[in-house]
Amino acid sequence: GAGVSQSPSNKVTEKGKDVELRCDPISGHTALYWYRQRLGQGLEFLIYFQGNSAPDKSGLPSDRFSAERTGESVSTLTIQRTQQEDSAVYLCASSPWEASQYFGPGTRLTVT
C-alpha cells in the first residue's frame, strides 16, 4: 500500500515569506507527527495529532509555527514569516495503534 507522502519535496523561500508543508498519512493511521531535522542532526519533535486534535504541541519552536489536520487525513504545517534558522528537513510520520511510526520522505526547506 501507499506510504506517507509529503509535498513539496523541496521548497526555497525568501526570508519573511509564509510556507505551507503538506503530509498525507497512511490510510487508517490515526496518529500523525511532525519532526524537524536540521543538517547533520537528529530529529526534533514538533507536534502530534490524534485524529484532528493535537494533544501535544510542545515542540513547536515559536508562535510562527502552526499545524492543522483534517479528520484522520491530511495535515498542513505552516511557518509564518520564515527565518533562516527555519531551514531544515521537515518530516511527517503516521502511526496505527501499535506505536511504530512510519515516515514520509520529508520536505527540505531552504530560507534565503
Binding site: G42, L43, F45, Y48, D56, S100, G104, P105
Partner: protein
C-alpha cells in the same frame, strides 16, 4: 529527563562483516518502546526494528538484531553479514509513553566493499 544517546558518530566495516551500533537511554518509565531507524542519502527514514520494554526476548529482523539490556538502559543494534546497501545514518529512538519519539544524534555507518 528522558534522553537517548548515541556515542558513535561514525563507524565503518568491511562488507560481509558484523557491526554493532550502541545506544543508551534514560527514563523513569517502566513501559516504553525502542526503535532503530535507517536514513540513507535519500533521507527516507526506514524502520529497521523495534523492541517493547516489557519483552525480555531480543527482537530480530533477518540480519538485524538487538541486544536489549533493560537494567543497563542499553539498546544496541547488530547488523550481520553487512551489505553495501546498509550504508546509511542509523538513529536510535524511544517512545517513553508520551507518543512522540525521542531520537539520538545518529551513527553514520559506511560499509566498505
Amino acid at each position: 529527563a528522558q534522553t537517548v544517546t548515541q556515542s558513535q558518530p561514525e563507524m565503518s566495516v568491511q562488507e560481509a562483516e558484523t557491526v554493532t551500533l550502541s545506544c543508551t537511554y534514560d527514563t523513569s518509565e517502566n513501559n516504553y518502546y525502542l526503535f532503530w531507524y535507517k536514513q540513507p542519502p535519500s533521507r527516507q527514514m526506514i524502520l529497521v526494528i523495534r523492541q517493547e520494554a516489557y519483552k525480555q526476548q531480543n527482537a530480530t529482523e533477518n540480519r538485524f538484531s538487538v541486544n536489549f539490556q533493560k537494567a543497563a538502559k542499553s539498546f544496541s543494534l547488530k547488523i550481520s553479514d553487512s551489505q553495501l546497501g546498509d550504508t546509511a545514518m542509523y538513529f536510535c529512538a524511544a517512545n517513553f509513553g508520551n507518543e512522540k519519539l525521542t531520537f539520538g544524534t545518529g551513527t553514520r555507518l559506511t560499509i566498505i566493499p
